[in-house]
Structure formats: structure tokens, C-alpha cells
Symmetry: C2
Subunit: 425 residues, 2 copies
Amino acid sequence: MEHFGWVCSRCSATFGLADIRYTCGCCPHGGRLTLALDYQRLGAGHAPGDTVLLDEPSMWRYRRLLPVTESLSTSWVALPVGWTPLYRADKLGKQLGLAELFIKNEALNPTGSLKDRASALVVAKAMELGERTVATASSGNAAAALAGLCAATGLRCLVFVPERTPASKLAQLAAYGATVVRVRGDYDTAVELSLAASAEWGWYCRNTAVNPYTAEGKKTAALEILEQLGWKSPDAVLVPVGDGNILVGLYRGFVDALAMGWINQLPRLIGVQSDAAAALYEAWHRGGTEVVPTRAATVADSISVGNPQDGYRALQAVRDTNGVLTTVPESEIVPTARWFTQQTGVLAEPASAVTVAALPRLLRERHIRRDERMVIVHTGHGLKTLDVVMAGSPRARVVEPTLDALRSFITDHHGGEPAFVPANG
Amino acid sequence: MEHFGWVCSRCSATFGLADIRYTCGCCPHGGRLTLALDYQRLGAGHAPGDTVLLDEPSMWRYRRLLPVTESLSTSWVALPVGWTPLYRADKLGKQLGLAELFIKNEALNPTGSLKDRASALVVAKAMELGERTVATASSGNAAAALAGLCAATGLRCLVFVPERTPASKLAQLAAYGATVVRVRGDYDTAVELSLAASAEWGWYCRNTAVNPYTAEGKKTAALEILEQLGWKSPDAVLVPVGDGNILVGLYRGFVDALAMGWINQLPRLIGVQSDAAAALYEAWHRGGTEVVPTRAATVADSISVGNPQDGYRALQAVRDTNGVLTTVPESEIVPTARWFTQQTGVLAEPASAVTVAALPRLLRERHIRRDERMVIVHTGHGLKTLDVVMAGSPRARVVEPTLDALRSFITDHHGGEPAFVPANG
């Protein structure tokens, strides 16, 4: 643990690992803390397998780049997180005219989203610290991740979700046994209440970005992407953006890999928001470093954030990698989620579709080139939001079990064109 | 491909790989075909890594034990299937008083179930054969698996599902773009119609057990279990049973490993049914080899099968491994699914809970011992059946965003006991 400390992303103040719990007091919102690593002592300049990389099929293969106590193994084997598939989606790439488009499918984490990585590290730390109760505010996925990890380890869990959280996400939280606090108001209101309550009653607070371990847990996704590409950095990595914490987490992983000498350059980080929840994009567009809260009302609940919790660092990350922030029209999100699913067999939640929806604009504005190697991070499982993505679709009608009935059904179904039934059938 | 052929499980007739499409004509229902492998030519007696095992993070690491053309790589990279986590669930094991209880989490396949393995192999063969349309009957998961794999590869897909398929499973099928034929009647009726229609219009039929590649695809789960345990066979493997095809598939994998000399003995295969859909259990109990169709009406839709499609081979597999078939009371399934989820953080679909529900009875009847190494195969993602598992749960009520309102809510929520709020809080 002597290889690690914290540094404030705002004022550069440094702290010992155990000397601070959440944020630096240097600014009204609390300067977000970034892990400082002693890369030399961690073996910089040597191959990953010779230094920190472990042979474990989970995010904990990188635990030597995380400030956790080695002996505390129960929490990370209780519900293995990470080491999700990365693969080239050739059919999708061809449809979009892109030569090398990869999907990192984070929906295949145990509770169905990339947020499992943050929750897994927070829960490991909570156990190390002897905490018994962990709380978080979340638009849904982070809450599920915390609830699942707490179920697996036996910690008590309170989750604060916005009033309008999809019913299926609420049901998932209840299934894990978490205490679900459905807060009158939006995500930002849930954040405020969870912070106040954690302070009042001494719960360990997992809130995205406020708890510095969240971004550090997410960095393992970046390290996996690089390892899965044979330690060759892709040209660009595209992610949906709400709080900005995933952008920051990925950036942290790429920076670690660069500092360890495993890659030669950082990939460009491309963040995508809905134009109905575009606080970070607007700050980027203005060219500043400060984010002004806006109204957030996108169908993509996972990125429906008006007051991004990790805006300052996210803007830094995009700038430092020569990346870009962009938006997609709200009206394109659900149709793109459907189209993406039909091209890939990967059921997309609305938030996960914004990166795909942004590709034409990114090409048009020359932020990406057709021959580049790109990774889209598929952040959350579409099974959680089927009701949203398939809203308005007619329920399949019942067909009588005869060939004649079937023939009529298929003919109707394909608009009079009996696509599957030979003409003489 | 010269290492492979087919043998009828009923009459032992042999066939060349390309000489037969579905089943042997030796019995009224069609003798199910089992792959015959030339283990000597595949390198029996040598380590897996020296013979057939490939360094790929999917089921295709075992493709040299599958009769597929090596050059046809597009189908298996289009949507990687398999290589799912296996890990020791210590909290669950402790609750149940079992020393070494492992979970093989097949819900983390891309469409959320073990059925992806069968569909992936069938789709690979369909592409090899130049087929354009694939059809299947399914209680839900196999249909989703086929629909997802077809979306990823561009094949046309028709799925025949029972009238009472859960709405969320229907929505998943529609999302992948499959043509969903919701058949008036149960799974067995859907099977009949799909067979008749495939014969009539020449579609490639994926039906479980009828298409011999289904069990062969599923065998990769067994090979992964063994590899993940360091090529040491567990004492027993527990699976939910509907058609019996998963039992058969796992058996096929364990037999391959034994024949290749990678393990010394087969694990006992333990199949679990609901007492409301117990055709295979009843045949086992009678001691015969023939299955008599029964009524099937379990809430565990994935195993609600009255006329098992792979009964004969399933009974053989259980017998040959000194295993057992058992049942659990229908009324215990949903409560166990909830309890399992809260102990593990793994969201169980009802069918996946029957193995856990059976453990007390299996212990009592001395089919398992507390000190044995056991693997439960978690077959399907609980996100697909949240409406079933959480039916009757109250929807989380909305809490006003104040500490006072929160305090009252928590006190109410925990039955008057303010568990999370210190007494002086």
C-alpha cells in the first residue's frame, strides 16, 4: 500500500491513502481525488506479466494497480467482476463503413453493467475498513451493482434512485435485498439526499466520483481493452457520458498503462451525451473547465444527469487525449438501440446506443476516420430496459398450431411478402 | 472433419457427418444422434494445450472437438459465446453447510443463457451448409439465443414459443429482429409446429435434441468447468432439467475429457425438475429408459416441458455417472430464486433456482455429502424473469428528499426497527 496516495484533481493537494475518505475541501463541490501511484516501484518499464498482471479471469487481475489489501480475498471472489469480452463487430462495422470497430461488452458483468467494477472495489474497501452499511445514489446501474456486490458479501445496502427509475431496475434492486429509497425528484436530488444521509448516519458512501475508488475500479476496463488488443492502444474509445466518471475511469487505466510503459500513446477518448442531458458537452463547447448544471430528461436513464459528478476531470481526460465530446439527438437513441441490437445480437440499453448513434456525426466532423481502430464501450444490459426500448411494439399475437395459420401469419408479418415461405409453398 | 461421425443413441447405427441432418429413423420419435470422435487422432493421452485446446476466450477454444470447418471463423467471432465464470460461492456454501460449492454462471453468455452454446454451433453449421433461415421451438432462452446469434451473423430467424412465454422474453426476441411465432398451446405444441413447418418450407431446424449439434455445443460448458478446476473433476454437477439436453450436453463434454485422458472419472450428474413438470424424474423413479409425457405447468418456464426431447439420452447420462434425478416442490422455486439472489448477487431465473432448492433433499437422501466439491450450473439470467420472481412485491414507494422523511421510511421499511439508523440518529 506504500505505492499509493491521493492527489486532488483541482488543487493538486496530496493525501495519504488512509488520510481522506471522499473529496478535497478545496472547492465548493469537493475536489475529486485521483490515485497517485509509484510506477517505478510497481515495475514500470517491464512487461505486465512480469510486474503486476495476475492470471485471474476478473478485474482483479489488475489488483496490484489498486490500493487493496492482498489478503482480503473474500470480497473479490464472492462475485467475480470484469474480464468481459472484447471483439470486432464486423457486421456492424460494415454497416457503418468502419474497418475495425470493436465492442467491449460490459453488460456481461454480473449485475449487467460496467458499474460492477466501481462497486466491487468500493465493497472491497468497505470490508477492509470494517464498514457494515454502504449507500449510493444512482440512476439504476450503479445501484444494482452495489446491491449485487453487497448481497454477495453480506454488507447492508441502501440505494437512492430517482423517482422515475424504470420498473425493471427497481425490481432488480429489490431482488438483491437492498433497501431501495426512491427519491421524489431526479438523479441529482437522489445524490444530495444520499450524501446528507451518509454523513448523518455514518454509512460508507459509494457515490460516483465522490468516492474516489469508483473511477479507480472502472480503470480496469481500460486495462483489459489494452490487454485484449495485445497491448496496442486503439485509436479511439467511445463511451456514453452522464456523470463523466466512466470517461475518467478509462482515462486512469490508459494513463497507468502509458506510465508503466505498456503502450506508447493514449487513445482518444470520445464521450457522447444525449442532447437532452448535455451538461458536459455544453461545457466542452464553451471551451471551459467548469460545468453548469442543466436540465436532464433523456430516455437513456443511465446518462440522465443534469449535474455531472465528475465533470471537471472528464473534461480534462478528453482534452488530454485529443478526444472530443459530442451529442446525439434524443429522438435517435431508442431507434439506434433497436438497430444496434439487430446488427450485433447485443441487447443495448438506450444509454449504450448513443456511441453508435454518434458515429455518423463524428465521421462527418472528422473526429474519427473510417480506417481507424475504435472501441465502443457497451456499458449496460438491455434486458434492464426492454420496456423502454420496445415500448409501443405490438405484443406477438397468438398463432393457431397449424401450417395454414402459420402461412397466413408469416405472410401478414412480412407485409404481404412471404419472405420465408417459398412461392410454391 | 475426418475425425467425426454420428452414432444413434438408440440403435447404434452410424452415419457420416454430412449424411444425416437430424435424427435416426429407428424409433417413432427419431433416435437422437451423438457425435462420435476419433480420440486417438485428436491426440488422446496428451495435455489439452498440446492437442485441441486453443487460446480463445470463448467456447470456441474447444472447437477442435466440434465438427466445424476451421476456416469459417466469421460466425464464431460475430458474437463470442461461453468461457463464463466459474467460482466458489462461499457465502452460499456456508448457508447451506457445504464446503465447496461452485457456481458456473451461464447467465453471462451474450443473450443470457447456456443455450447460446447450442445456438452458436447450430448457426456456425447453418452458415457452413449455406442455409439462410433457421427456426426453433423454445420455451424462451433457446429462442433468444438463436435470435441473437442470427442477428449477429445475418441469418433469418423464426422462433416458435408457447403462448404463455413471459412478456420480457417475447420482447427480447422481438428486439433481436426475429420473427416470433407465439403458438397457441404449450412448449410441446410449439415443437410440433416448428418441426412440421421446417419440413414444409425447408428451414434449418435448431430444435433442441432433434438437431444433434445442440448437445454438442453445450458440451463446451463441461469442458470449461473442468479446465477452470485445473482438470480435476468435481464430485457432482447439478443442473435444472426440462428437455434433458443440457444434462446430455454436459455428459458429452465430460466423456470427451475422460476419453482424451484429461480427467480420471466422470462427475455425478444430478438433474433437478419441478414436481409440476417431472416427466424425466418419473421415468427415473420407475427405473425404465422410456419417458411418458406428462402435464407440465411450472413457473420455471425454461424447464416447463411435458414431453422431454432428450429424455432417453438424459436418463443414460445420469445412470452412467452414478447420478440421480430428483424434484423440488413447485412452491419452493420462486422463494428459492429470491433467496439465492440475496445470497450471491446472481439474479436467478426460476429454473436456475431448482438446483439450490434441491440441495437439502439431496443431502438428506445421501446423494451428496457436505464435504464434496459440487458445481451448480446457473443456466439463465434472472433479468428475463424479474416479473415472475418479484411478482407481488410492492413497488418501492416514493420518499420525499429530506432526512426526516428518510428516517421514517427506513423505520417503516424495517418493520419498526431502525436497523440502519443509530439509536441516537
